[in-house]
Amino acid sequence: MRKFKEFIIEKLILISGLTSIFFVVLIFLFLLKEGLSVFQTVTPFDFLFGKSWYPISEPAQLGILPLMMGSLIITLGATLISVPIGIACAIYIAEVAPSKMKEILKAGIELLAAIPSVVLGFIGMMTLVPWIKNVFNLPTGLTALSGSIMLAFMAMPTIVSIAEDALYSVPKSYKEGALALGATHWQTIYRIIVPAASSGILAAVMLGIGRVIGETMAVMMITGNAAVIPTSILQPVRTLTATIAAEMGEAVVGSEHYFALFAIGIVLFIISFIINVTSDLFLHRERK
């Protein structure tokens, strides 16, 4: 009897172990099931590179290039801001900060990671957006720049914690060797420790970028949501994620528009899949 009970439990454990794979496949299949229908009305090429997104005009124009450009410009901006600052934070926390300071900084960054994105979007709307509007003398502060700054901030916990782990796991003998040869602490950091941790730092950057591309609420609240190909960082833009979130409520189930939003979901899923698999490879190389 006990044998039988244990047999059942162990089977349950095995099944639960496989659920992650099951859910990833399930998500992808359901996105495909709904999203691929859009290609009955628009070719994949026109969908990906079409320059206008007017999903409810007659006939609907379903080109997501403006949305991809919107996501791209915000991601670029956020990466440019968050990567240098994030890596600098990680180096300071891992190598320089005295232990009390280290605890405070880590707690602050965990705090930031815990704030819901809708709250950050809200506070960005109330503070950052009017500030950008005044500083650059614009008709609206809902711009790609506001989105980039906010997202840089939101990507920070990911970048800092993973980069810090990578720096921390560099063997102590490397550091001791460099110091023994007469290098200063700073020389040891940028000549020895950072290069030794480079693949982990790269993974941190990639996962940060993944976080930025997938972020939805804050972006929708502070970038202005204009589906046009941006020519400047001071213009309103609309991202892939914000398009889904903003339009799904109004899209008629089974319409081209509905299918197109799922096709955007496929694009996002594939982007995040590529980012996660490659950064996982980098992290594995780190461990070896």
Partner: protein, 282 residues
Amino acid sequence: MISSLGKQKIAFFFLFLANLLVIVPVGLILLIIIQKGLPAMTWQFITDIPRQGMRTGGIFPAIIGTVYLVAGSILFALPIGLLAAIYLSEYAKENLLTRMIKLAIVNLAGVPSVVYGLFGLVLFVSFCKFGASIIAGSLTLGIMILPIIITTSLEALESVPALFREVSLSLGASKWQTIRHIVLPNAIPGIITGTILGIGRAAGETAPIMFTVAAFYLPRLPKSIFDQAMALPYHLYVISTQVPNVDEKIRYGTALVLLILVLFVNLVAIIIRYQFRKKKKW
């Protein structure tokens, strides 16, 4: 020419500055929300239904909705996540399947939250015919927090020394008895931490519940798990972007309630983890 120690001083100064650039805004954000949200914190605000198109009254249905959603998602994700972590830590061998499972977990953690919303919409709302309901939203959030629960539980299980298992097995206990009576009790604090972090995440997410459960305006409590519900994060989104002329005080008040809820939950997790690390003897 600056000496190498001089260069070091300058470099460390800039590294410190980078930290200030992150920490100071975090502090400011908290301060602003607390300062502007506190005046809205009345008993009525917490316990009343929204009135006059959400421009006055309280946010009680949204708080309750969020509590239901979080409870539902944990009920779903905790058993599966814990068993999955047990599989990975106690049963899995170093092979391709294990590698695939770990990759799948990483991917689940990276899927954009709005994509979870789409998935929940087709699978639970349409395919399973739950409609926009608490159960559809809970299941969607549950799948989303699964990777958090698996990775933190796995870490806790793996930190139990192999010696404990060997002693138990050598005394004649079966594998499951060893897990049940030796491994799990020693990993409980880590598992609780993971669960609490999952709760915090589920309570704050907006995009996955927008199409699966959240009601724009529903000034009553949900009647069953197949009913729609309001939820705090979605309510904050609605009153700050979709409804014109809402008093700033109410917006900040809602943000403050959500923030307190999420930060309190995280604080509990941090304290448990800290106590656990302090007590750990191996």
